[in-house]
Amino acid sequence: MSAATPAGRPRTLVIIPAFNEVESLPVTLDELREVSPAHDVLVVDDGSRDGTAALARARGVTVVSHPFNLGVGGALQTGFRYALEHGYDIGVQFDADGQHDPRFLDDVVGPVAEGRCDVAIGSRFVNRSSYRAPLTRRMGMLLFQGVVRLALGQRIADTTSGFRAYGRAVMVVGQHDFPRDFPDAPLLIMLARRGFRLLEVPVGMRERARGRSFYTLGKSLYYPYKNLLASLMAWLQRPAGS
């Protein structure tokens, strides 16, 4: 799926990590084509076994397939690598499950394109939206809001949003240095510590349309430990290569 970009406008690639999303991906792709035909789309098939890649190709979308599952962070790194090799200026992380509304794509891309920030985070909680997370997830979100505020002195209401636009400089770093499974609070802390500017943008989000949530019981128990430790380390760490 490729469209001509008006001269002077940054080239934007919508990166959709997908793992066994054959139920929800068709709706997501059709909606993107209808609402935002100007943006190129890349599906990163993260080791799916349900025909996700074939389905995306059948809809004319560029697909990169991993031979096995690398996690959402690993899939995004592949997307960044593809974006950089093909001359894109902005990479937009976009969920395959229908939670993200493509009508807000330009709202998320705009601040990065205008140079007002390096990472724009589409936030469910800056303004009220119809999205309601389960109680345990809301508690986790509050915890990591506090962690990010403590580490950076900056309030970010939605640290787990997967609807983000990354500028080219961020993708250059992110292709090598990016959390593999939970790219949330530790990622934001790491990017801010490297001097990248973060900005939250109000967006609306929806409940997951189809398919299974990424957050199983096991992941819900492991997530707080992993992210608290990773957040502390992101705050303490030297940048990779230094």
Binding site: P67, F68, Y225, K226, M233, Q237, A240
Partner: protein, 135 residues
């Protein structure tokens, strides 16, 4: 609170190990996944070492004769769990390695069929033919 010499050595050793593991994670030498068991085991042993009452209580509950044997038992238990975890991860890495080898072979075949030359496996990086040595 009276701590015997061996308790102190055990507790301080476990504390130093925990701090070293944290530093390895900070320096990206160890991922958070692998750090969990190290941190839990060293924390448990440090707590047992610093708390004589707790150590005696656990020893009594488990029916162990000597308190030092309790610390060894926990250490051995964590070692077994760690080895099992490594075995599971190694098995997964081995399977993924096979998948990668297969993907590489298929990609090589696809390149050759398209007329794109691909260096043979085992050729040294940057190796040049005899023509390169002629001035």
């Amino acid at each position: 609170m009276f701590l015997s010499t061996i308790q102190l050595v055990t507790a301080l050793g476990a504390t130093v190990l925990a701090l070293y593991v944290l530093d390895l994670v900070r320096r990206r030498r160890l991922s958070e996944d692998f750090s969990l068991l190290w941190l839990v085991s060293s924390a448990v042993i440090a707590i047992l070492g610093f708390s004589t009452g707790l150590l005696r209580g656990v020893t009594h509950v488990l029916g162990i004769l000597y308190e030092t044997s309790t610390v060894f038992a926990f250490g051995l238990g964590f070692t077994v769990i760690g080895l099992l975890y490594l075995s599971i991860r190694l098995s997964r890495l081995s399977q993924e390695n096979v998948l990668l080898a297969r993907e590489l072979a298929l990609l090589r075949q696809s390149c050759e069929a398209s007329g794109v030359g691909v260096a043979a496996a085992g050729a040294p990086a940057g190796a040049r033919g005899p023509e390169a040595n002629r001035s």
